[in-house]
């Protein structure tokens, strides 16, 4: 098998994630799609690390995981805040900001 096949998987996952960000409406699902995109990029890094024979790609993927973890904390905190405000204030789900 060709090692580059991993790249196709990565590209497919990335595209799926990107489409998901656009078409899904639930903020948490959108965020999960972003995570999928990050994972796709990580797969590309790991594959390229193997193709190029250097460990740097793996390190980058490692950093991505750490950064993504921070991002998840912040993102979920924001989402929970909004959720609580909306529930209590019983505001319509319609966007407040103009289109």
């Amino acid at each position: 098998m060709n090692a580059a096949n991993y790249l196709y998987i990565s590209a497919l996952l990335f595209t799926i994630g990107a489409v998901g960000v656009v078409v899904r409406r639930n903020a948490i699902v959108v965020f999960m799609c972003v995570e999928l995109m990050l994972n796709a990029a990580n797969l590309a890094f790991v594959t390229f690390a193997r193709i190029n024979g250097s460990i740097d790609g793996q390190i980058m993927a490692f950093f991505t995981m750490v950064v993504a973890a921070c991002e998840v904390v912040v993102g979920l905190a924001i989402i929970v805040t909004i959720y609580r405000s909306r529930r209590s204030a019983s505001v319509d789900d319609a966007s407040l900001l103009k289109r």
Partner: protein
Amino acid sequence: MIDLAISVGQTGTPEAVMFWILGPMAVLSALAMLLVKKAVHSAILLAWVMIILAIFYIAQDAVFLGIVQVVVYTGAVMMLFLFILMLVGVDSSDSLTETIPGLRPIAITAALGFGGLMVSLISRATIGREMVGLTVANLDGNVQSIAKKLFSTYVWPFEVVSALLITAALGAMVLAHHQRTILRPTQREQAINRFRSGSLASAAGLPGPGVFARHNAVDVPALLPDGSAAPSSISATLKARGDVIDSRKFELGEVDTSVEEEK
């Protein structure tokens, strides 16, 4: 497999078998994640994709990353997602926000364009050099060689990431931490209040769910000594969702045990 023109190096047969089983599975799971309605299902499918990726990492000589992927990503991050989903409401599939106005056509076009790029990649791309493999780089062991670079070449970003972690913690604190603006009554004050506020019926501690009832499930209210249902023995969430079961179902006599809504 039909000849994909890239030649970046061939892998062994076991890996190929693994790839052709797991690869499609990952893509299908991702697609399903996109298509399923409930957020929880999406989350579980995503976790599954991540586990497959972890296997891919290990297959590609990134043992450490594979483990971290399972532990950190699948284990921690996805669990956090699930946790928040539970908090927000499992069946919340409604939208919390408008996604970017006007971006949908752009993104779909972009996705198609990306597909086109991939085709050209498949048909024309050659990396221009053979696959090197990580045998040399991992000579000291994968973890060791990562550590070596992480703590020498990449020590600066590594240190900076710590600031990022603090930011995240601080941010979560800002958004979630309630500084007490109203002093919470102490236990003693609560006890005094209980006794002073009229009827002594509430003076004693409230029964837990199922007490005196014919059933001990959480969604069946407890019965007070007088046989009436104790509204406070049921979680408010259950009540709000209308999941409370009337204890009368399990009652033998004619005592009215229907639950009064508190509100």
